[in-house]
């Protein structure tokens, strides 16, 4: 029977409910919707806003080690504290915060399976009371840069192809996963009526990437799918534990969830999250892009031109 390699990284709502007063545990809510925490949160939980707390406001990067330590201190998180993340959107942002915390070397991290939705669906109580926390000492002792990929890392991962070459094959042992929706992967979305402010100048995907939307690893109730289903999902597309894997999406949050599934739950040896993702790749001059929608449109145009015209009878 296939099992998660590290099942202890996932806790259920009952575990959280029984650790609300545990001083060794800090529960952290991290949402896309910035007002949800204020509308009601798990008793004792603190809020981490991916936008305001984790990101550097000046450059596109995370806060520095000093900033992270200051955040931990403010949230009452010591170096040995077990941090349990939960949030909206099937734990997108919870996994994103988890990934950033891991980047800064925090070791004791968990995710509450099912996130905020499951807690509420089970009619468990929420409070608006914000915990008063005394600052604690925190130091960033080690870092885990090996879980992050930058643009140049991705280019090397591809084998440094010529951007204009027709087809890019990844070197053996490497894999690239695009976790966005199929429409984003195919390049169709830039041409759709509902996305006038898409945020990227080019559509499509990084050559060599396979499309496995993040949502396929999550059930409708927001919980992660069983290990056997996840294994079948990724193995089926050649994303196996022995591979050097890079995952990406649009800004790195959805791919954080996929990173959590592969690296943390399933125990893959080497998975990196390319957080620059499509908002970087699709805007940088001269990078290789595969755009099936564009190819399809070109072919259709070419066929139309080739078709002989017929005069009116």
């Amino acid at each position: 029977m296939v099992k998660y390699k590290n099942p202890e990284l996932l806790v259920d709502t009952e575990w959280v409910a029984s650790h609300l007063a545990d001083p060794a545990v800090r529960i952290v809510e991290s949402d896309e919707d910035v007002v949800l925490y204020d509308a009601g949160h798990i008793q004792g939980a603190v809020k981490v806003d991916w936008h305001a707390d984790l990101n550097d406001p000046r450059i596109r990067d995370y806060v520095d080690a000093w900033g992270f330590a200051e955040l931990m201190s403010r949230l009452g998180i010591g170096n040995d504290t077990t941090v349990v993340f939960y949030g909206d959107k099937s734990n997108w942002w919870a996994c994103y915060a988890y990934w950033v915390f891991r980047l800064f070397g925090h070791e004791n991290l968990r995710v509450m399976n099912g996130g905020r939705k499951k807690w509420i669906d089970e009619k468990r109580p929420l409070t608006r009371e914000v915990p008063h926390l005394e600052p604690v000492r925190y130091s960033v002792r080690t870092r885990h840069p090996e879980i992050r990929a930058f643009r140049d890392d991705v280019m090397s991962h591809l084998g440094g192809p010529d951007p204009r070459q027709a087809e890019v094959r990844l070197p053996a042992g490497r894999a690239l996963v695009d976790v966005r929706s199929p429409g984003e992967y195919s390049g169709e979305l830039l041409h759709m009526a509902d996305y006038p402010q898409e945020g990227a100048l080019r559509g499509g995907h990084i050559p060599g990437a396979v499309s496995i939307p993040w949502s396929k690893a999550v059930a409708e109730d927001g919980t992660f799918r069983p290990a056997a289903e996840i294994k079948a999902l990724y193995d089926g597309q050649g994303i196996t534990p022995d591979k050097d894997v890079i995952v990406y999406c649009r800004i790195g949050e959805r791919s954080s969830l996929t990173w959590f599934v592969l690296q943390e739950l399933m125990g893959y040896a080497k998975v990196r999250n390319y957080d620059g993702s499509w908002t970087e790749w699709g805007n940088v001059v001269g990078l290789p892009i595969d755009n099936p929608a564009l190819e399809k449109a070109r072919q259709a145009e070419s066929h139309a031109k080739a078709r002989p015209t017929t005069g009116a009878m």
């Binding site: 608006r128 006038p196 402010q197 949502s215 649009r250």
Partner: protein
């Protein structure tokens, strides 16, 4: 019509505590005003925030003689702030001169929504306003074409009257 039609008509959180302002936004997002797609309108324009998946589609009908909003509504999905902002804005612009929308400052809307609450999400707070301004601009372009005797071609972004499939299914567009 007063010159400050929109600013005066904006429902505001002024004088509210932070928690009251949040409750106001939650209520607006849960029961949005001017929500829905009309059978006819002059311009349909969708706007989106790639960062967080908010989508707001504005439907604008113009009173040509008055050069003012005859009716405006929206549909959309996304975070509380983006949907509450759309509700507050679309309610306030009913009957407003288009020139006032064109000159409207995002700061007015952010102040009405509660700057302290929405300041970390300015794109969410102003998505509806930027989309509405885009709709007015598109309306102007359509009128210019009409006056020049050119065929009226709906721009790509307004050509599809149906909501995106994922939105129609009530699912997040990024799933």
């Amino acid at each position: 019509m007063t010159e400050r039609h929109v600013r005066g008509a904006l429902a505001t959180t002024a004088g509210m505590s932070r928690q009251e302002a949040i409750d106001f936004l939650i209520e607006q997002a849960a029961a949005p005003r001017r929500h829905g797609k009309p059978e006819r309108c002059d311009v349909t324009l969708a706007g989106g925030n790639p960062g967080c998946g908010d989508v707001v589609t504005v439907y604008l009908t113009v009173d040509r003689d008055a050069d003012a909003v005859a009716a405006a509504s929206f549909t959309g999905e996304g975070c509380t702030i983006s949907q509450a902002a759309a509700s507050v804005l679309l309610e306030a612009v009913q009957g407003a001169p288009l020139s006032e929308i064109e000159g409207m400052d995002a700061a007015d809307l952010m102040d009405a929504l509660g700057r302290d609450v929405v300041k970390s999400r300015p794109r969410c707070a102003t998505l509806a306003l930027s989309t509405l301004k885009g709709a007015v601009k598109q309306y102007r372009n359509l009128r210019l074409r009409e006056e020049a005797g050119l065929p009226i071609v709906q721009p790509q972004a307004t050509a599809s009257p149906a909501p995106r499939t994922s939105a129609a299914q009530g699912r997040d567009p990024r799933r």
